[in-house]
């Protein structure tokens, strides 16, 4: 493997399912030994990208290399250099934890005794030794994910793909998973991970690529991206019948990135009687804002600061909330998106 080559390289990947364009010219580059977080809402094309890079799908156009090997031309060779943990914990429920790992070892063509020892070692490392002889269907969600991750590590792949590794996990299992992934990465594994959560990408990834409508719309470190959203989000909820416009005027004077007469990133939501804006300066700003709101005669129900979320990053990059798409992946997205783009 050539040292200078990136561990994962994708150029202009395209993939359509009927009318829906899942990937629309996706480019990626991941240096050996680093972690790339692929961040985006449901239906953005993250999973399609992972499926192409792990040889499960063929791209319609474009090319990709993983660990120095072409994903289409040398798919067979590539499969012995990667590990994949998909969105569902792909473990066989009616096998025990140990049987699951041994089976995967055998399918990597490890000799029987190796497969067995490797299984034991991974069970130990993932804290599953006590449950090794129990059927996987008795495992908790977190245990299944750990077993699934262990299965993708049987052959110590230099490049690992994790597709939403913590979706659906409770906060404790999520933290445990983060710790495990962190250890892997410090061991030098190149990792591509997809996630819907900024904090997850923040915690695990060296670089983050934000994906929307099948292409990368921004790339950089977590700090880069946050800087693009800017500081924190200040949210003000006015009382029933309160003066939302007055509140918006006050927030505009504190909001970042307000240009001549523009709205900046001040958002008003009449239904929820809420105004929000991205601000810098944190808690010490609050006192001033409260004073100004009081002076303007705005009656408050609630006021608070929160950290930027994926939604904020997304909104600032696309002018649209990430959530809306997640709700209805079935609608013909391209036409809609094209229109929204033009308006924005």
């Amino acid at each position: 493997m050539a040292q200078s080559r990136p561990a994962i390289l994708a150029e202009g990947l395209e993939k359509s399912y009927g009318e829906t364009r899942a990937l629309d010219g996706l480019d990626l580059e991941v240096e050996e030994g680093t972690v790339l977080g692929l961040l985006g809402p449901n239906g953005a094309g993250k999973t399609t990208a992972v499926r192409i890079l792990t040889t499960l799908l063929k791209p319609d156009a474009g090319r990709a290399e993983v660990a120095g090997v072409d994903v289409v031309g040398q798919a067979g060779e590539l499969r012995s250099r990667i590990g994949l943990t998909g969105q569902y914990a792909a473990v066989d429920e009616y096998l025990t934890g140990r049987e699951n790992l041994e089976m995967v070892g055998r399918l990597y063509h490890l000799p029987k005794s190796y497969a067995r020892r490797r299984a034991d070692e991974l069970l130990e490392r993932f804290d599953l030794t006590g449950a090794a002889s129990r059927l996987a269907k008795t495992y908790s969600g977190g245990m299944r994910r750990r077993l699934d991750l262990a299965a993708s590590l049987v052959f110590s792949p230099p490049v690992l793909f994790l597709d939403e590794p913590t979706t659906g996990l409770d906060p404790r299992s999520r933290l445990a998973m983060w710790e495990i992934i962190g250890e892997l990465v410090s061991g030098g594994t190149t990792l591509l991970l997809t996630t819907q959560y900024l904090d997850e990408a923040d915690r695990l990834a060296d670089r983050i690529a934000v994906v929307d409508a099948g292409r990368v719309i921004a790339e950089g470190t977590a700090d880069d991206l946050k800087a693009r959203v800017g500081g924190e989000r200040l949210e003000v909820t006015v009382t029933e019948g309160g003066d939302l416009d007055a509140a918006a005027r006050v927030l505009r004077s504190y909001a970042m990135g307000v240009t001549e007469g523009g709205e900046g990133n001040v958002r008003a939501d009449a239904d929820r009687r809420q105004v929000s804006a991205t601000v810098e300066g944190g808690a010490r700003l609050l006192a001033a804002v409260v004073r100004d709101l009081d002076f303007a005669g705005v009656q408050l129900d609630d006021l608070g600061l929160r950290r930027p979320t994926l939604d904020d990053v997304f909104l600032s990059l696309t002018g649209r909330a990430a959530e809306q798409e997640a709700e209805d992946p079935a609608r013909p997205e391209q036409a809609d998106k094209g229109e929204e783009r033009e308006i924005a």
Binding site: L56, A90, V91, Y94, L95, E99, M103, L107, L110, S156
Partner: protein
């Protein structure tokens, strides 16, 4: 021999063998996986056995008295039909098993491994062959209890068993193809009734085809299940098999020649739903 933390860095050598060797070896690993699950979900096997037992009782005692067959008793006529019907419905198990592996993401895992492309399918069909053989043995015992008296010698039994195994294996690959096409357990089950009912009932399984109206008789006389049933029935009752013997073989081999490559090519492209 200790396993190093990083197998690759430690240069663990994988045995180099031919593709054909790995197709068999990987298929066996997965057949074993499928077989050890059977006793862990005993309900499935129990229901798969109870249903044909009910057919035996239904036709032996409810309809049997009203059905005329020439040359032997009705229960002797019936049992070959029961064996083949049981095996044919076993093909649905193959499709259901594959659809389940797809839905749970296991096929994605298997497809991302450097293993043989046909092994998931051979592992499934071989395991279902063993499973079908078990159910047929149970049916034979039930048949003997209700008066089935086969008259075959060693050669006849050997040929009948061989043909049933071949038929089971062949139909399993049709089931595999359907499983990969439909990709959902429920859909495979529904579809199973649609293609298996006409094939098993519009056949010589329960009645002689002579009494059927023209077009139906033409279909019944020329479809694979009738040929296999007639061949197995003739062999077990030590009666002349006629053209059914080689026609049954041709059908089974033909089905394998079409559905093995078809399902393997579907598997290479299949995506979880």
């Amino acid at each position: 021999m200790n396993v190093p933390a990083d197998i690759r860095a430690a240069g663990v050598k994988l045995p180099r063998r031919s593709r054909f060797y790995w197709a068999l070896a990987d298929g066996l690993v997965l057949a074993k996986r499928n077989l050890i699950q059977i006793p862990r979900v005993p309900e499935l096997l129990v229901f798969a056995t109870i249903q044909p037992v009910m057919f035996v009782l239904l036709f032996r005692y409810v309809f049997g008295g009203a059905i005329d067959v020439s040359g032997t008793s009705y229960v002797n006529f019936l049992m070959a039909g029961i064996f083949i019907q049981t095996i044919a419905f076993g093909a649905m198990t193959t499709g259901v098993g594959l659809a389940e592996d797809l839905q749970k993401g296991l096929v994605d895992r298997f497809r991302s491994l450097p293993m043989s492309r046909s092994a998931v399918l051979t592992g499934r069909t071989v395991a279902d062959l063993v499973r079908n053989a078990f159910v047929v043995v149970v049916m034979l015992a039930v048949g003997l209890l209700v008066g089935f008296r086969p008259e075959a010698g060693v050669a006849g039994w050997t040929a009948a068993i061989g043909l049933m195994l071949l038929f089971s294996f062949a139909f399993s690959w049709i089931g595999a193809t359907i499983g990969l096409l439909l990709r959902s357990v429920e859909a495979v089950q529904q579809a199973g009734f649609i293609w298996l009912f006409p094939l098993t009932f519009a056949s010589s399984a329960f009645v002689q085809t002579d009494g059927m109206p023209g077009p139906l008789r033409a279909f019944a006389n020329h479809q694979p299940i009738t040929q296999v049933i007639d061949a197995v029935r003739g062999l077990l009752l030590d009666q002349p098999v006629g053209s059914a013997g080689w026609l049954a073989l041709v059908w089974c081999v033909g089905i394998l020649l079409v559905f093995v490559p078809l399902s393997v090519s579907l598997y290479r492209r299949v995506a979880a739903r």
